[in-house]
């Protein structure tokens, strides 16, 4: 009869820390934690020592002192007597406005170029290939400088717009493209224009409601409402009605040539236009590739299956192809938006006053607070991109294939 032996007792030996998979991960993490702590301590220590040697400290009080410099493009009122914090805010708004407008234009051009690149027309496809390759393979900085040079060197001076001059305004004398910038009509908001704007916003909301109802109805009953026509009508009709009802409260102030420059109207600076156009053109090439690959990613069988079910071509596109293609297209598209936003910091090349030039440029130079300024600048960009990627993650999880 065999003796029953106890299982070997669990003992802990020091070597298990290295060789036992259960403990090794702990060891590695502890070692890593110690190393990281050491590194951080070293960094902070160095910084403190260096700052002390320079007689500096870390304070953010400079934000509330007078800025003392002017900003040439302001979405909110700003004068040189305002604080550095307000200057930073003006810069942030300038960054955001060029980023948002850039994203919109880049999407329009990019989708167009991507679809046209797949065109059956050989010539169009080749032109678009050339466009995309030329944009993608040269630095963005060159494009910004080129567009800026076009805007400042190849456009007429304001004095040439005079009677008998070589230049003339376009779009029924409402837009002037000159080397001092583009002048467009400025809307004047009179009494009652608030109502018109409110109606416009309400009708936009109405469009979304209608779309929602139409989708629900289609899923419940299979009936399809003419959503596009309803939306179009909603977009224009109520606002126009309100506009005329209130006695045309919104008027346009046209730019006019007075003296050596244009007066009236809205001046859009060349720096803004150069940055906006170059960012849009450059990013649109990447978006074109994304759109193209998104469309190609949907196998032909999907279209054929839809046709076999008797679905019409445009409904096939709308109901079968687009929802699937968008799932492929949107995530990289959003990361292109992110890239565009970050690339807008190239504003430095043309002197556009974005947040890097105000907070990260002039403010730092005037106050000598490099550390604090760069920190705030970094935090702004970081928050912006985290928000955008959070939006992307939300979208991703909402359209993810539900697999079991």
């Amino acid at each position: 009869m065999a003796e029953a032996t106890d299982p070997p007792r669990e003992t802990f030996r020091l070597s298990q820390l290295l060789y036992d998979a259960r403990y090794r991960s702990m060891t590695i993490q502890v070692v890593a934690a110690i190393l990281i702590m050491l590194l951080l301590v070293e960094l902070v220590d160095n910084t403190v020592t260096n700052l002390a040697a320079l007689g500096k400290d870390i304070r953010f009080g400079f934000l509330w002192s007078t800025a003392g410099y002017d900003i040439n493009q302001q979405l909110i009122p700003f004068s040189s007597q305002d604080t550095h914090a307000r200057a930073a805010l003006v810069g942030i708004l300038n960054t955001l406005v060029v980023a948002v407008l850039g994203c919109i234009l880049a999407t329009v051009i990019g989708v167009l170029a991507g679809v046209l690149r797949l065109s059956k027309n050989w010539l169009i496809a080749k032109i678009m290939t050339f466009y995309v390759e030329a944009m993608r393979n040269t630095p963005l900085l060159i494009w910004i400088l080129i567009v800026f040079a076009v805007m400042t060197e190849a456009t007429p001076q304001p004095r040439e717009f005079r009677e008998g001059g070589s230049a003339s305004m376009i779009l029924w004398d409402s837009v002037a493209i000159s080397n001092r910038g583009v002048y467009i009509p400025r809307p004047i908001w009179a009494e009652g224009s608030g109502f018109v704007v409110a109606v416009f916003i309400l009708s936009i909301i109405g469009i979304f409601v209608v779309r929602h109802i139409a989708r629900k109805r289609q899923q419940d009953t299979g009936q399809i409402l003419p959503v596009f026509r309803i939306s179009l009508a909603l977009f224009f009709l109520p606002t126009l009605l309100a506009y005329f009802l209130m006695g045309r409260p919104v008027t346009l102030e046209m730019p006019e040539l007075g003296g050596f420059n244009f007066t009236g109207g809205l001046q859009i600076r060349n720096s803004f236009i150069a940055l906006w156009l170059a960012l849009s053109l450059y990013t649109s090439a990447f978006i074109a590739e994304i759109v193209r690959s998104g469309i190609l990613a949907i196998s032909k069988g999907q279209t054929e299956a839809a046709f076999a079910l008797g679905i019409q071509p445009n409904r096939t596109m709308q109901l079968i192809i687009l929802p699937q293609a968008l799932r492929v297209i949107i995530p990289p598209l959003i990361s292109q938006y992110l890239n565009l936003t970050k690339n807008s910091s190239l504003a430095i090349a043309v002197g556009y006053m974005d947040v890097r030039s105000t907070l990260g440029g002039i403010t730092i130079n005037q106050t000598g607070r490099e550390l604090e300024g760069m920190l705030l600048l970094g935090i702004f960009y970081l928050i912006t991109s985290l928000i955008i990627s959070a939006a992307m993650n939300f979208y991703n999880s909402s359209v993810k294939l539900k697999e079991r």
């Binding site: 991960s25 590695i28 890593a32 040269t138 630095p139 900085l141 080129i146 760069m374 970081l382 991109s385």
Partner: protein, 499 residues
């Protein structure tokens, strides 16, 4: 069969008809045009519009380009020549003709002694020989005059080949070093040279004593060997720690806080000894004289080479099961990716000195290379992570069930497949990195675009834009286009599923 009876069929053709030619609309050019250009009304209109656009663009650009003035010494002279020829527009390519060396190399010094001895031996002899001109005989002003007179009498092509032989040789050797990595058909022995190339390139570009790169290489080899020896005895973790410790001992002074300064670092001591025994070397050229397209290539190549391993490690760290490692990698990647490169470059130029031990000074070019590398590695990490995520779980499980440890399973099973999937993304990141090297102009390095400003700042070429931008743009285009085509080739070659 029957012979007497007449065949009921009146006529039977015994030979084949020659095949008729297809209708003219179905062959050759006409068919191609029909299918590709005018397949429908809409398509025909598109073709028409496209033709108009092409004509419009070419009619503007071609005369300007082709009628360009190639020989002139200033923009005014260009315009005079243009008007004399009776042209409305003409490019002034003369600026490229005269300044292309500057755009390629910035203010990197030429090897004047070589130029003088090769092409101007009489003038050199008249001035008193090499020693008299370059080694103290002349004062600085006279020497500058001699050199500029010499350069004015020398063809730009000759200056390019012989005056800049150091960067050119480095570039040629780079092609040799990169070739075995890019094309697997070449002998594997060449990879040894690829490993040695960074040191060779450093020596050629920066010059100085030959012993510095040699000793650094030896020190690296020594620390790797020590790490390996210890690793065979203590395992992977102990080995890498020992290697890092050896590296610190050889190159840095890790124990200065404890007052131990006598032994470490070993490097400068050896350097002094070797230099006194065999003083070989080239003229030292400091980093701030680097510039032009050469600078873009140096930053781009170093960034590419260094960021790939770092990016892979970050991606693995992000996928790691160890929470601390994962957390550190995620933070690093997101922080780096969330902030534009310009801000990082400004950080490198304004702030890095705050974070380093007091008294450390750092070459600006080196700082830029480090920043660009970190930046690109964060993007690469995301690309590689995509590749890792695309692999089915079965691959990881299969590697585990074979009993491979983590590093082996990664090296042998996971990474080869994951990297293959992510090739397009990796190459795109590299292209982006290469294009982003132009941003260094904002922190005061002389990249090609900054040099176009320098050219424009001279009295002769004030007001010239397009020609310079086109030249620089084409330089970048050639490199980036090559990279993207190579990635397509690589995808084709590595495609193992026979679809």
């Amino acid at each position: 069969m029957s012979t007497g009876r007449k065949d009921p069929v009146a006529f039977v053709r015994t030979e084949m008809l020659a095949p008729a030619a297809p209708p003219p609309g179905q062959v050759g050019v006409i068919r191609w045009v029909r299918e590709n250009l005018v397949s429908s009304w809409f398509n025909a209109i598109l073709t028409f519009v496209a033709l108009y656009v092409i004509w419009y663009v070419l009619s503007g650009v071609l005369p300007w380009t082709l009628n360009g003035v190639w020989n002139a010494s200033s923009l005014d002279e260009c315009r005079t020549i243009r008007d004399a020829r009776g042209l409305e527009t003409a490019a002034c390519w003369a600026v490229i003709n005269e300044r292309w060396l500057q755009i390629l190399f910035g203010f990197y010094p030429t090897d004047d002694i070589l130029l003088a001895t090769l092409f101007h031996s009489e003038a050199l002899a008249a001035a008193g020989g090499v020693d008299a001109v370059f080694n103290g005989g002349m004062n600085a002003t006279q020497r500058v005059e001699f050199v500029s007179a010499m350069k004015n009498n020398t063809n730009n092509g000759l200056i390019f080949l012989f005056g800049y032989w150091r960067p050119l040789l480095a570039l040629a050797l780079m092609v040799v070093a990169v070739a075995p990595i890019l094309y697997s058909g070449l002998p594997r022995v060449m990879l040894l040279f690829s490993l040695a190339f960074p040191f060779v390139a450093f020596f050629l570009l920066w010059g100085g004593s030959v012993w510095l790169p040699v000793l650094v290489a030896l020190g690296l080899i020594a620390s790797i060997l020590i790490g390996r020896a210890v690793g065979g005895w203590l395992g992977m973790l102990g080995g890498s720690l020992a290697g890092i410790a050896a590296f610190l001992m050889i190159f840095m002074n890790p124990l200065s806080a404890l007052g131990v300064t006598g032994l470490f670092p070993l490097l400068p001591k050896f350097l002094g000894v070797m230099d006194s025994i065999l003083p070989w070397g080239l003229t030292y050229i400091p980093s701030d004289e680097f510039g032009g397209f050469m600078l873009a290539i140096i930053i781009g190549t170093s960034g590419i080479v260094l960021s790939l391993p770092l990016g892979i490690i970050l991606a693995l760290g992000r996928q790691s099961s160890l929470p601390l490692i994962q957390w550190v990698c995620v933070t690093f990647i997101e922080v780096i990716r969330g902030v534009p490169l310009i801000v990082w470059l400004f950080t490198a130029s304004l702030l890095l000195n705050y974070f380093l031990p007091p008294g450390t000074t750092f070459d600006l070019l080196l700082r830029v290379i480090i920043m660009v590398t970190l930046f690109a590695s964060a993007y690469l990490a995301e690309v590689v992570r995509g590749g890792l995520a695309a692999l089915p779980n079965g691959q990881y499980e299969a590697a585990n069930s074979l009993g491979l440890d983590y590093w082996k399973s990664m090296r042998l099973i996971i990474l080869p497949q994951a990297l293959k999937i992510s090739i397009p993304g990796i190459v795109n990141t590299f292209i982006g990195l290469f294009k982003d090297t132009t941003l260094v102009v904002f922190i005061g390095l002389r990249d090609p675009l900054g040099l176009t400003n320098a050219v424009r700042a001279t009295a002769e070429w004030n007001g010239i834009y397009w020609e310079l931008y086109i030249f620089v743009g084409l330089l970048f285009f050639v490199f980036c286009f090559f990279m993207s085509r190579y990635s397509m080739y690589l995808e084709q070659r590595l495609r193992t599923d026979h679809r």
